[in-house]
Subunit: 339 residues, 2 copies
DNA sequence: CGCCTGTGTTCCAACGATGTAAACCGGACA
DNA sequence: TGTCCGGTTTACATCGTTGGAACACAGGCG
């Protein structure tokens, strides 16, 4: 163990509490005392014991972020942003992987190590409204990312998925494509994100006076490359394959690109492809991938600040909804005119 | 806060210590007492307060993993593996991003929140031997990943980079390629990994009776896609461009593929490309990428277990070296015969 | 000159768990 | 009957910190 507050105190010739006051920036400490104490702290390299502090104060300075898997680029980038933002705010981040399993998400909400964590940022995949009805008494504050699971009484940060889906779909229509398909539908009851993107897709088609062709919405098990590739294979096997595909994630889109390439279909000439997320990989794929972006740093910032706000006395404020913007990025996979 | 041990004790009609004994599986507790206490625990949903336990026992059950950036797929996959393995062993994982900066790696070694962490797994980029000479007294045990910084007195998990580089290079030679280039050299003093891979590359060429052609070893700033793309551009601008490229990471290789495609060079017909790491992306790129793999789960397992071993009394054991195997995965980017 | 106010500091009791040493208890043995 | 003994349980101090009450001391006021 390192230096204790007691030792600093005796070196500075004051009591332990005075050292504590200096460390915590308490107001009424004489400048000369403060300086003397600070000097002792620096000389001895004192750093407060967080277990003790947390035992006493109930705060640890640790927040947890629970997400499906860290090896999916979207979540990795999200986690990176959360860690960076949290660090700027003086917090450390503990990462929990839920695998998108309801059970594990429930555990996370109930509080992974409730006494160690000041708050939780959760990116739910499987969790439904039922799981969130009664926040456990001792559970730390919670911020939900992604789609609103329904009115849950928790803070929430999301993009407008319906509008984002419309934007992507409109873009494909603007290229003159007519047989539009979507990859990423999901059966799971709780798959709000997929449902909303599908809703936006269908709405955009309808507004353009078109309808969703049979078989042109492909369901997937998860938003992975292999699911995208398989879905694309199925689309290509249709009697009237699509000439444009909207994918609910970049990974799905990259999988689709892979399948298209394997079968010798040209992108964007034969089939235009657009994704969602703008992960780094999409800027280097062959061809580069058009996509709809949400700003991860903005999401992370809003989430961390929402947590910190609750911790700083905002315990009982009404839950807030934050909606972050999105943006269309056009790259090679949907270049206009290339036909 | 939740239930306290005191309340469980009074409910079971025993002292606090007895509850503690039951919780910690102490031997001499009468079966009937144990059962009564256990029942009280279950009924009240008691869970020990970890801050308090850690204050008293000095253990938190949290290990930290410090790596450059979570949004680089290689490290994301590594972190995912560490978290998974740690969880199986009952530990939670705190993630710290160093950005590969020496200063931040030093901070990590000195102990990010030393009292909160039982041990640290560090994947150093910039850290040299000097930074590791004198383990701070209070600092938690440390396991180094990747190249041995030199004899540092710490446990270490790595692959044999020289052998891996030889394997990759030999593979390119076996295709009949003659003008081999490497992407990934680094100037930084501490860039051991780059140096060793370069060493293996050069040795393999020499054994085949060839030498490294001028300009055929491209330096990079970091192992990112954009660095790979730029390096590939420079190689293609040479009077005698290479017909095969060994990249020190998959990201570099993917960047190189991107540059090759942009300039209309065919892979593998005109230039064969091989990477290192086997990140998921490499299995879906166009063309799919050949690579040399190390087993991330094995690395993570060895690292976590090395830490736990130290914690379980192995404090003063001699530092151990673990070398994990690697394997060549041949994909489209180096298909033999395609010329 | 004593009283009050406000500032700066100290003392003491927590926070919730665990290690230590001592107490308890019934039975075995002398 | 008394002592000893092992297993079982308890009381108490303790980990390092912070909150609150208490205290000391100055200056301003009546």
């Amino acid at each position: 163990m390192g230096v204790r507050m007691k030792e600093v105190a005796s070196r500075a010739g004051v009591s332990v509490k005075t050292v504590s006051n200096v460390v915590n920036g308490y107001l009424h400490v004489a400048p000369t005392t403060r300086e003397r104490v600070q000097q002792a702290i620096d000389e001895m390299g004192y750093r407060p014991n967080l277990s003790a502090r947390s035992l006493r104060s109930g705060r640890t300075g640790i927040i947890a972020v629970a997400l499906p898997r860290l090896d999916e680029p979207y979540f990795a980038e999200l986690a990176a942003a959360v860690i960076e933002v949290a660090e700027q705010r003086g917090c450390t981040v503990l990462v929990d992987q839920t695998d998108g399993l309801r059970e594990r998400e429930q555990v996370a909400v109930a509080g992974i190590r409730p006494d160690l964590i000041d708050g939780l940022i959760l990116s739910p995949l499987a969790l439904g409204a039922d799981d969130l009805v009664s926040p456990a008494a001792g559970a730390p504050p919670l911020v939900l990312l992604g789609e609103r699971v329904s009115d849950t009484g928790f803070d929430h940060v999301a993009i407008d998925n319906v509008a984002a889906a419309r934007t992507a779909t409109d873009h494909l229509l603007s290229l003159g494509r007519r047989r539009l398909a979507a990859i990423g539908g999901m059966q799971a009851v709780a798959a709000q994100t997929a449902r909303l993107r599908l809703e936006g897709f269908a709405a955009a088609l309808q507004d353009a006076g078109r309808t969703v062709l049979p078989g042109h919405v492909q369901e997937v098990e998860a938003f992975r490359r292999e699911d995208g590739a398989r879905a694309m294979d199925r689309l290509l096997d249709l009697p009237e394959p699509p000439d444009a595909v909207y994918c609910f994630s970049d990974l799905l889109a990259l999988g689709a690109l892979h399948a298209l390439h394997r079968r010798g279909v040209r992108v964007p000439q034969d089939v235009a492809v657009i994704g969602t997320d703008d992960i780094a990989e999409s800027r280097f794929s062959t061809p580069t991938l058009s996509t709809v972006v949400q700003d991860q740093v903005e999401i992370a910032t809003l989430a961390v600040e929402a947590l910190l706000h609750r911790l700083d006395g905002g315990h009982d404020d009404a839950p807030r909804e934050h909606t972050v913007g999105f943006e269309l990025r056009v790259r090679e996979s949907t270049v206009a005119g290339a036909r």
